[in-house]
Symmetry: C2
Subunit: 561 residues, 2 copies
Amino acid sequence: MTTPEEKHRTDSANLLLFIALLMLTIFTIWIFKHKRMRFIHETGLAIVYGLIIGVIIKYSTVSGNAPQMGNVTCKQNTSVVPSYVYVNYNNSNYLFTRHKIYKYHIPVLLLFSVFSVMTFDPELFFNILLPPIIFHAGYSLKKRHFFRNIGSILTFAFIGTVLSALVVGSIMFGFVSWMMVYNTDPTFTFGFVDCLLFGAIVSATDPVTVLAVFKELKVDVNLDALLFGESVLNDAVAIVLVSSIQKYQSARSSVFDSGAFFSALGSFIGVFLGSFAIGALAAVITACMFKFTKICHYPVLETSIFFLMSWSSFLLAEAVGFTGIVSVLFCGVLQAHYTYNNLSTESKARTKELFELLNFLAENFIFGYMGVAMFTFSHHHFNAIFIFGAFVAVLVSRACNIYPLSFLLNLGRKRKISRNIQHMMMFAGLRGAIAFTLAIRNTCTTGKQMMFSTTLLIVFFTVWVLGGGTTQMLTWLNIKVGVDEDDVAAVEALDLDHQNTETQDSGPQPKYADSAWMFKNWYKFDKNYLKPILTHAGPPLSASLPSCCAPVANCLTSPRA
Amino acid sequence: MTTPEEKHRTDSANLLLFIALLMLTIFTIWIFKHKRMRFIHETGLAIVYGLIIGVIIKYSTVSGNAPQMGNVTCKQNTSVVPSYVYVNYNNSNYLFTRHKIYKYHIPVLLLFSVFSVMTFDPELFFNILLPPIIFHAGYSLKKRHFFRNIGSILTFAFIGTVLSALVVGSIMFGFVSWMMVYNTDPTFTFGFVDCLLFGAIVSATDPVTVLAVFKELKVDVNLDALLFGESVLNDAVAIVLVSSIQKYQSARSSVFDSGAFFSALGSFIGVFLGSFAIGALAAVITACMFKFTKICHYPVLETSIFFLMSWSSFLLAEAVGFTGIVSVLFCGVLQAHYTYNNLSTESKARTKELFELLNFLAENFIFGYMGVAMFTFSHHHFNAIFIFGAFVAVLVSRACNIYPLSFLLNLGRKRKISRNIQHMMMFAGLRGAIAFTLAIRNTCTTGKQMMFSTTLLIVFFTVWVLGGGTTQMLTWLNIKVGVDEDDVAAVEALDLDHQNTETQDSGPQPKYADSAWMFKNWYKFDKNYLKPILTHAGPPLSASLPSCCAPVANCLTSPRA
């Protein structure tokens, strides 16, 4: 039997174990849903199972059906003492699985080869598992409430995340200085930029657990929109922030001056806008393609193109050096807003279901893997001071993000963000898949390994404790549940119409929500120009465009309009 | 910029190009469907686009925006002359893509690094792209006509494929001996086992092209069932055959004696049965899981479990050393037969659509890649004698498979396989994705590379010429088209009922089809025992099982029955 074949079998077994883990999780999720248990969310559950499997792997190294004691003589031509020796063990008693490889460490310890490779390329998380999660977030965004609160969401996501990263970075710098007092390893360095990097990593909030509870309990729509919008955009911000800091780190020394800051800021804005442009481009091309052709008669082709175009936006952004996640997020939002209307009924269902499934599998895989990584990752560095500091920093930074920004936003908002909603937002600052993925991408130095170990602990704590306590917290804070979204929508649509009439009478008067002015202008532009160009909906372009553009208008107007 | 980041961007660009290729193919497929053009099938089209991209890649090496002439001094510490030199080229004029790597070959030739890595791991084809194709084939099998013709299908698939491999091997051995006369390379060897291996590789027929035309034209259901059944099972047989031969090859010398033959036969049967057992086990577990739980209330969970269980059957078989493809095929057939009935309405649609989509994407990707590989694979070995021999061998072996076996089968069949149907089956012996994947898996010796190059040519020829001529051939052979399957089904169901009554009157009388006896017994067993155990359908078990098994029967009987 050749080595690649053996490797292939090991890989298969490896993946199989993870799939078994995933299935176990799904099955338990079902039991929990069935019994209406809410004290732990599916993601928390995935971690628990992952931990169990991790423990089994770690401590099964000397148990199992080990071969009998004996001497094995190996031919070894090199002068270096190898750290591992693989011994092929043939047992003809078993009909099929008679060929096994045992791995000997220098302190004689048996380990099945299956378990020694239980690690995946971190790029896998970033390139394969994250895109569907993020795309799904964009694709399933409730646009009405999102755009109604766009100003607040952008503030929390952009200013809040940067603020959070800075606060965590500063606090950690203090704790790291303290930690350095006890440091005995002269090669270990941890500068301010490393602290900032850690700040950016743990600033990616991921309230998937909280939102699942919200959805089930039908919580207040504005709270839902604020949290969902913040978490989605904030992932993108954190990712761009991390990559900007890493670029800066690899380009120069660890000195941080104002020039470097503005260069990082410039790169941050450039990358963000570039990624957005690519995502938007992919969505616009898809929308036009489906509007002007009759490909909707073949739903498989339609769904394929939709899937591939959305994935392309990710790949294109990565290929030119932007951030694919940001690109795929906006692509998702715009696909939902424009392309979705051009799809056939069948494809509408298909695309939704497909991305729902991919999102579900990817998410549970990542959380399950986190649990496994806790025990199988071999370079953990747990430092009590660093961990304590990180927990303090995470809490303080969340507070510095939510309360001051809410105060400022409330100055401009008509519908204020109440105290209780603020407490709930503070509470819902869970860390999840994105923080984990950002941390696992780079674990080559001791400092980075320490960040990774600590991030894992933060994720576990927030998902179990904060995520598990969501229902209690909602009750405790007296936040309205059981809100029927359609009712709210109907009331608000009426409200908006009424307000529109009012506005037309008495000039622009940003009355309704915090971002009413911005929202209304965008809404008008979108309704009169973008929707008619990109979809079959809206008034014909010949009505909205000036008469000189009539030929263009006729050409672009949908045959169905 | 670091090397892994550069690699990541290159990988993204690489994948992006393939996705663009795929989208181009899909879009053209749509145009062809729209205009009802049938002279070339989508798979043939994918190859054509692949070839075009391959040509562009190959001949764009000296064109493009090459940097100006100049001297670059590189520091090189080793004494060996490197075959490639990479030069980082920074151009600050471009805002974003200012960082490029040029690859210098020894004879100065520019090649963008993007294009130099345009190869995928062959394992990708085998482990990621084939399973959904094969599963979908099993899952979408028309069981009625398949089981009606099971005897003939098994004969064609098992005996026919082995026969075909032997015939191709023998003919090739003759041609190879001739080729060896002109051989100047003393290290080049090509024994009889290599010839057999080539025979096994090109014996995997893949009439996806033909079947697509059949489906559109609603061709005679028995011809359809025979060809589809043969091609699905024959893939499995060819794959097991190839892996048996390769195992044999790596285990011993190239001498082929009767002992080796029986050992290979034993391994073949063992692997086949083992793989079947794993696939069946996965399907049975899934069916029971869905029957006895109410997981169907959550379609996402249900679809996830279904998908993961089916994939597990593949991975488990590969992990224990069986053949995943065979396992996933039977898993698909049984999932369709049992589990499908236990699914919720939504999951029924979801699973079908999901596998349809995966199958579609995977298939077009493989065919597109074939075209690209024609030009980008750098170790092609085209030998006129070998290629000529291969074409002769493929035709002769197909004839040796179809005509003698049809003659033998017609002795026992009531509904004979007519001359014209035989000619059509002979004509429909296309080679496709499986042959390609088997050939690309091993290209480490000159002989294997020659097999790969020749297999590519055979695939192109059969897909374009035979696949393109299907409609003309059907007309020419006067084969009935426009058959409504439901009508046939209704007539045949009546027929079968009538026959059943007859049989009960006058004892077992295998009258209806060639495999009526086998089919009927299986049908009875399935209806009375398996279906009631595994699904909600059929008579309650308490009626069919003997009274001593009453507790078991009550326990297994569906709550819905």
